[in-house]
Structure formats: structure tokens, C-alpha cells
Amino acid sequence: MNKWFKSGTPWIWLNAGAVATSLVMVFGLILMIAVNGLSFFWPSNVAQFDYQTAQQSEPTRVMGEFQRSETMTAQAMRDAGFDVPEGQEIVVRHLVKRGNRDLDSRDFRWYLEDFMTDREHPRDAVVLERLQWGNFYGFVREFRVDGEAVATGDEARARFEAIIPETRALVRQIEHIERVEIGRINFRIEQIRIALRGIERATDLSIEERAGREEELSAERGELEEQYAELETQRNELRNELRRYTILMETADGAESAIALADVVNAWWPNDMSIPQKLGHYVHTFWEFMTGYPREANTEGGILPAIFGTVLMVLIMSIVVTPFGVMAAIYLREYAKQGPLVRIIRISVNNLAGVPSIVFGVFGLGFFVYLVGGNIDQMFFRDALPSPTFGSPAIIWASLTLALLTLPVVIVSTEEGLTRIGASIRHGSLALGATKAETLWRLIVPLSAPAMMTGLILAVARAAGEVAPLMLVGVVKLAPSLPLDGNFPYLHLDRAFMHLGFHIYDVGFQSPNVEAGRPLVYATALVLVVLIIVLNLTAISIRNHLREKYRADSD
């Protein structure tokens, strides 16, 4: 034994254990996010059971989805206020999503397994996804049109199921009117308001000119207001049509509740679905999640604005960081003479990589937003003051801040690519009479393009996951409009935006109902992780491919 220890084998194994632990952690984490995130869209069965604790004389009937289970010591549960019988030492408890937040505020509750009886999965149990108050669990009892019951029982369910696509179409129409058309009119009216203020302030206009322009703008505004009123009536008509339909629901414990179809986003009977049906539903909800707008303080609905904001910000950042980083790398590798200056630049690059991201955020807020943005407002957007245009957190400032943050990634990666290009290529080109710039442009840059690509991808991956600085320079929990839309100038660099990473933070930690938001956080995290893993693996494979290639060349 002693000899075995002396040989060092156990220590080698311990070191191996360290690697193994790290690997287990990485893959465990990714697996966990994947499982939790993917199960969010799965229509799991709805269970119904009777629950009776020692204190209760009558059992209550509970219906809902089982979320997760825990094994606890009885003592801990007693300390937490559950009445566990004496003598019992271990309890199993289940977290049940009961929904129906409008009837009972506790939509998530823990139930001890010992008190559960008659657990079953009723086939006619329905899950309603609603615009407000979260899910509803119960049974469809009546289908009503204009307040009158036109169908009951199974027929009601059939009528209800059949009309959902129709009501959804109406809802989408209303949303389109509100979001796109009325949005466009509001945008234009705001522009006119600012233009009018500008005319008021302008000193170089004659009285006639001023009156003329004012009249012109006022006329346009009148027209827009008319259009607005028209759209409003149109919308109200649609709404009235939508309001005609309601269903009467019964919950597990017998309470009745009338629900307007205007509120119902989706309905499904999970216990009555076959696996292919469930898969279809799965794909459908996943699609809705990726392309929908958030609801209920972001804890429900989709994440389209967050995906959109993340991608757009990263794109703008790439436009800035690529030339900057590539040129800096070329300077370091091709032009600079080794000496103190290069040492200083390298230390700067390393420091840019090492300075905490929040410091970039603080710098971005002070320098870009208040100093640069404030001055831009003073020079070009005086008419809109005191409400800031560029002088408040915006997507452009977020992109610039992140460009600074990811600069070292591009530099390091490009430099690596430049190093791998053999000196013979440069010498050959120079010997043929090309200038240094020509050599660079015609040979070096094309040859090292994949390395630059790697750097850019890594920078994008880094930027997509960064949240702390964005919280200061441009991300908001709910952006009223996307930074890219149909109103001139189409790309609104001065708008705040939503971001996947911040969405996770906001829903997971700032929302009033954390439990309700949890699945959505996992799903969002999954989207972000997949995005980043794909980006990274692409970068890694390009890089490995490059290395192989140059290894082959130099052999």
C-alpha cells in the first residue's frame, strides 16, 4: 500500500478526478438546462387527486400538473409549517401547478404524497392558456354565444375546439392594428410634434414661412388623427365580434367560471392526446415561444423581441469591432517593431480582456450615453429635448460598449491566424515588387480570413451572453417597439431593446411570481445556450480546420 502511494498513482488519479469533475459539471449543467428547457413545451398530463391533511375534515380535490418532487426530512417540513404525523421521518412532496390564478392566488403549491388519494387523469380535463392570469385547469361545461348557452358537455368542447382558430385570427388582426398600424400613426404624430416645436424655435424663418409649414404639418396631423379614429373603430368592431364567445368552465373543486374566448390563447386536452398529437402541440408551442411577444410581466408568451434585440445588437457590434480588431492585430503582427510599444499594446489588450464587464457598462453609460449621446442631442435633436433621443440608453451604445469589450477576442484570434501564415509567402510577394499594403490586402488578409471569422464568432458568442454592462447602457425589461420596423428610418439606433440574457435575469429574479416564470427562464436559457454552443463549436471547428491546413502546408 505504502509503495502504491509512493509510486504517485493515487495522486495522478486524483488529478484525473479534477478533470472528470469539471466535465461532469459542464455536461450536467447543459443537460439540466436542456431537459428543463425542452420539457417546458411538452403537454404533460393533468392529474386530479383528493387531498386531506390531518386537520382537514373534508378532502379537497386538486387538479394540476406535477412539476417536481422532493424527498425531505419530516422535521424540516414541520419547521416549514406542514403538519406531518409524529413518528414519520421522511416525506415526499410534489409541487403542483394548479393554475387558476384568478380564483386562487396560490397557483403553485406543495402537496405531501402521504395525504394524496384517488390520483387519476380525467380525459376531459382541459388546459387553457390565457392572456391573463396564467393557465386554467378544469372542464368545459357550456359554450356560449352572446351570453346564451348554445352547447353543453361534449358538444361544447367540440364547438369550443372548432372556434379557437377563428378567435385567434381575430386576436391577431387586432394585434396587428394596434402594434403596426396605430404604432405607425403614433410615430408620425410624434415626429410632427417635434417638427412643430422646431419651427417654433427656429429664428431664421419668416412669419409666412412659419405659418405655412405649421399649417402643412397640422393638416397632416389632422389626417393622421382621422386615420387613427378609423382604425380604432375597426379594432372595436373586431373586439365586439370577439367578445360574443364565452365558455363556462368548472374547476376540479366544483367552482364555475366564465371565460371569454378573447382571453384564450390556446386550449388542449393533454390526457386525451396521443403521442403524435402531443408532438404536434410541442412543435406548435415551441414556435409560438420563438415568435411570440411576451405577456404577463414577461413570465409568459414568447421571446421574439429578446431574440431580435440580441441579434441586432450583435450585428451592429460586429460591424464596429471587426475592422478595429483586425487592423489592431495586423499592426501588432505586421507593422509594429518588437519593443516597449508592442509590450504596452499587448498589456492593454490583455487588460481590456480582463477588466470586469460591469466597468465597461459604467464607462458606456457615462461616456457614450451621457457625454456623446447628450452632445448629439444638443446638436441634432434639440427640438425633442428635454426628452432625450440619443442621450438615454440605446442599442447603439450597447453595441459600442460591447464592441470595446470583445475587441481583445478579435485581436487575439486574428493574430493567431496571422502568425500561422509562413514568412515565405510575404517574402515572395515583396520580392515580386508588391508594396506591403498590397501584400497585406491581396495575400495576408484573404489567407487569414478564416481566423478573423473565428475571432468574430467568438466575439459574437461572448457578446450574446454578456448582460451586466447591457443593464446600464440599453437593455430594458419590456421594449415598446423593436429597434427595426416599417417607419422611416427603419433602423432606430436610439431605441432601447430586449435581450435574451437580461430576460433570464428579469423573469427569474425580478418578477413577482418566480415559480410561474421558471419554465420560461429555462427555455430562454436553453435558446441562449444553444446559440452560444453552436457559435463556439463553429469557431472551434474553423480554427482546428485551419490548424490542420497550415500544418499540412508547412509539412
Binding site: 479534477a18 499587448r346 481590456l352 463556439n536
Partner: protein, 756 residues
Amino acid sequence: MSTDTIAPRLAGFQRWRRTKDRSARYMIGFFGLAVVGALTLMFVYLLSETLPMFQGAQLDPLTEYEAPGGADTRTVHLAVNRHREMAVRITDDRRAVFFRPGSGEIVREQELPIPDDVRVTSFSAAEPRTRLVALGLDNGQVLAIQYEYNESFTPEGREYDPQVVFPVGDEDSALLDIDGDGHAISVVGIQRGSSGIRVAAANDRGDLRLATFEETTSMMTGETQVRRSAYDMPALPEGSTPTRILLDITGRIMLVGDDQGRLHSYDIRRPASAKLEDSKRVIRSDDAKVTSLEYLLGTVSIIVGGSDGSVTQYMLVRDDGNVNRITRVREFPAHAAAVTNTQPEYIRKGFLTADETGEIKIHYPTSQRTLVERQITDQALHRVYVDPRNRLLIAIDEAENWHLQRLENRHPEVSFHVLWQKVWYEGRSSGDYVWQSSSATDEFEPKFSLIPLTIGTIKAAFYAMLFATPLAIMGAIYSAYFMSPRMRTLTKPSIELMEALPTVILGFLAGLWLAPFIEANLPAVASILILLPLSMLLMAFVWTRVLPEQVRNFIPAGWEAAILIPVILLVGWFAVTLSPLIEIWMFGGDARQWLTDNGITYDQRNALVIGIAMGFAVIPTIYSISEDAVFNVPKHLTQGSLALGATPWQTVIRVVLLTASPGIFSAVMIGFGRAVGETMIVLMATGNSPVVNFNIFEGMRTLSANIAVEMPEAAVGGSHFRILFLAALVLFALTFFVNTVAEIVRQRLRNKYASL
């Protein structure tokens, strides 16, 4: 074409090429240097935002004029409105004069409703924001008045209709009979609190009386009723005459200064049974007198000015016997002559003092700064005032000449002392490190000690490093030296993936999953810590000693890590399953309760969670750099060692680690730098409470998380805003130092390897 037509065109072309070449050189050079420029710009900008905090105040003469309303009467009170457009002067010949402070032009004069044959014998003002003042008269009456500027907005600008109103009664019934016997009121004090106005007075025989005017608003009619009551207060100790009375805004305390240099505090919560709680001499030198006594904003701190020029701050501090003791807090730079007047600021806890030689000082207590020391005139000053926004200072000399000065005093509350040393704040019994930047009330003083945040930062980084360093370095040694190349090509990208995982995801998992999990499975965490290394050793023994050769050959050497993965999973599962049993067996069924019973505070989101989550984020950084350093140790060194008969493990310990140690050191430094600046994990997985301790089961608030939380709500340009910039600068400087050292060490190491 002949050569002489080609030649010039060729030359032109060559020139064009050279120009292009040169401009490319300049442009690329510019971008290369711009990297340094960007870093420098960040540093300079952060510095430029913090520096204004440490500059003193500016005081510039504006104008001088004779007292508006006549220099032949004395000013007893003066106030300026917040726009510095209207001001009021109350004189001892029973007048209120409203004037424009810029020019001294009188807008309105109002006679106070005091009979002609009655003299004003004493005067006192309540908290400046109440605009409430009291005049004691020689017939035993007191007049309480309130001045109103009545500002209104018109297209031309602000307009004023200033006047004096009567908070108790109307113009005819405004005089309050405080002393029934008609003795002259020699000292008066007034204050408005939540329950109404209180007036205290002493007559020329030293009798103290307190009158309360309780305002009750009827629920039914909405009418406000005032109930007057008057009480006799216990007398001061024999032989002392009251010279000053202060009432606090909570209605609990009355302070009386006497001619012996003593201060007496009365408990007046129940005025009918008021009692003298404490008496203390508040002036140090024996023959000196108290010449000025004033409350600061919030009526907690008392500033005592003496005839010896001393300026001292006192507070009531509860002692062990639950008695409020008058306690000396701190002293300020003394004046050369007697302090004649103390004036508190309106919205901060700073104050101004004036003396007999015509000098003015502006102090701020908690930062221990005296921002201005200025000789305004060579005459004695008897009053000094400041406007609500601290922009305009008016000093009045004995001849009633008014000296107006422009004041610029933005950040008096910040100093090195406030940021890094123990500060004695109001309401506390001693100095402490406190970070508390905002609160609901106006009287609140923000507390800006960076110590709790710095300690929190170090605490978080420490636990993260404790978790990450061994794992990362051991892993690096193994994968650089023992791991098979195949496994290495799988491991390296995995670790890179680990580095790429967004910290917001680590933070969210740590906060929402890991923290509750650890709380519910504390014994599991402890047992994993013990069982994991043991089981690895056991597996090693079984594999190398017990298992037959055939099985061992099935998996080649260099795959030990892969063999251990199932072991780890098994141990983890085992520990979690057994956790409740261990809990019942060792901790009475509830490990958390057990900790609490043993005096250990347990927060769900604590340093243990941070250690694991942030450790996870730091592992890949340390791992990659140390792996690089270990892997690049020149092969002839290790081969030499092996050739001389050393085992691989001996070679690693004695040769490889020794050679690579600078690289590993810089890896740890860079990892530390990352842990110090990490924001999202700490933000999401701790309670963000600024505590000063190293308890692994409690949370912390770090510099970075603090910036993320508070920056969006800090007023631009304010002290809080700038302190957050300072926090960023501290982080910047810290990581700059760490990274630069690490980079220099690495550059040296690279040169060393090259020369070996």
C-alpha cells in the same frame, strides 16, 4: 507607345501605390494605438467622473448691500427660496421684509401683529424647511409665524406673492400666552413635528414651559382642529439659566442649553410627566461659554459653538441602561474667536459657522471635512445663511452689512474617511462600516462606506478561488501531462465551452436551483466533499491493484478521467439519496435549523453557492492558462528527469510544476481578476446584503453587483453616482494591477522557455 509617354504615367502609378502603402501604414498604426487609447480613455474618463468629489467647495464674492428694510434694526432671521429669487428678513422691530436676494430690492414689508409697546426679547427658528419661526415677547407671549413665498408659474417666468401667515390661529389670535404671569420670554424654541407644532419657552426667571398645538383632522368633515395644551417643565439644576431651547421633530426630546456651558436633555414624549434625562457640560475649556447651539437636518445632531471658537458635534446615544446620554461625537477645526452663529443646510447634514473675526467655515460632519475657511470681512459676523440648494451664502456683520457669496459645494459628504474608515452616523452608538445609499425619508443621510462592498468582493472571490483553484490546476496538470491525446481533443473544447457559458445562466441556476438544493441537502454537500476524493482513491486502487490485467488493458492509460466519471455520478447520487437520513441521524432532522441553533446565520443564497457557481466560471480561465504553461515545459527537461529514474509523478512535482509555476501563478491571478469583477452570478445568487464577515453561509454584496443594482437609479452627477464610478474605478485598478502582473510574468516565462 514610346518610353517617354509611359514613364510619367508609370511614375504616377508608382506614386499612387506608395501613397496607398503609406496611408495603409498610418491607418493600421492608428488602430493599433487606438487599443491603448481605448484603455486610457476608460481610465481617464472614470477618473474624471470621480475627481470632482474630492475637490473642496468654491466660494466667490457676489455682491454686498445694506440690509433691506434698514440697517438700524437687527436681523433675527433670514431665508431664501430654492430658486434664489425671493427672500425674507425678519427684524427685531417686528417686521417681515420680503426682497429679491440678487439686488436687495424690497418686494413687500409686513408688520407683525405685535403691539407697539411690546419688545421682542427672544427668537428661534424651527427646521428650515418648515419656514416656521417663533418670537418671544417681553409680555410673556410668543408669536409663531410662517413665511410663504407663494410662487406661481406664468409664461413670463415665476411670480411671487410672499406673505407671513400664522400656523396657530389667525392674525388676531396669533399671539400665544405661554407665560401666564406676563414675565418676559427670554428664550424660545419651536418645532413642527408629525403631531403638530410645539413651542417651548423660558421666562426671565428661568421657568420652563412647553405648549403643544396638536393638529387633528376630522375624518368626517376634513376640518383641521388644533388642540392647545401647556405644561410646566422640570426646572434646570440650581444656579443655571436657560440660554437656548431646541425641540426635535419627533416630539420626544427637548434640549436646553444654559449659561454654565451645559446641555440638558428632557424626555417630553409625555409632556405632562416630562423629565430631565441627562445633563452634560458641552464645552471643554473651563472659562468658555456656549455661544451657538443648533440642530442639524433631521434634528438628531447638535452642533455646539463656543466662545473659545470650538465647534463640536453631540448626539443623544442610548446607553446600556436605556437612557439617552448626551454624547460627544466629533470636533471640527476651531475658529480663532467666538462662534457667533451656526446655520444648518436644508437638504444635507452639513452646516456653516461664523465668528467674531468675520470668518466663515463650512463643515460636513460624517466626512470630517471643512470645505471652506474664508475671511468674509474684518467685522464680526452675527448671522450666516445659505439657500436650500447650497448655492448662495449671505453673511451679516454687526453693522448689518450683507455679504453675498456664490457657493459651489456639491459633494461635501464624500471623503477618504467616509469611504474607507469607520464613521459614526446618527442613530448609532459608535463608528461602523456601512453602505446604505438610499432611503425613503428626506432626513436620511446616505452612508457610503466601500468597506462592506470590498469585503464582499474579496469574500466572493475567495470562496470561488477556493473551489476553482485546486480543481483547475490539478485538471491542468493531468490533461497536459497524463491524458491521452484522444481524450485531450475532447476535453479541451468542453472546457472552452465551459468558459463560453454566459454567466447569467450560471447565476440563474445558482440562484434558482443550486441555492434551494443546497439548503435542502446540506448533508449531501458535506458528504460529497469527503466521499468524492476517497472514492476516487478507492477506484484507483481497485483499478490498478485489484482488477485483472485483461480488464485493465481494455481501457488504455490516459483515460483515468473517463473511468472516474461514473464514479462521480454514483457518489453524487448516493450522497443526495442518503442526505435526509444523515440529516435525521446527525442534525435532528433539519440541518438548517441545527446551524441556526448553533449560532450560525444561514442565508439561502450564500457564499457557498457563490463559491461553486463562480468557481465554475473561473475554472476554465485558470485551467487553460495553467495547462498551456504545463504543456509547454520543454520536453528535454522531463525526459531528462525520467531518464534519471524519477517516476512520472516525481517528474511532475519536482520538474514540471517548478518550471511552470510562474505560468500557474499568472493563471491564478487572472482567475482572481475574473472572480473579482464577475457581476451576474453574484447579483443573482446572493442576497446582496452588504455585510462585513466571512461566514460561508451568509451572502454578501460586491462592488460589481452594487454598481449593477444602484447605477440605474443614481442621480446623474450626484455623489452617489460618482461613488459608483469610483467603485468601477477601484475594480478597474484592481484588475489592471492583477492582469498586468500576470501578463508580465507570462511574458518572462515565455522568454525563459525559449532560452531553455
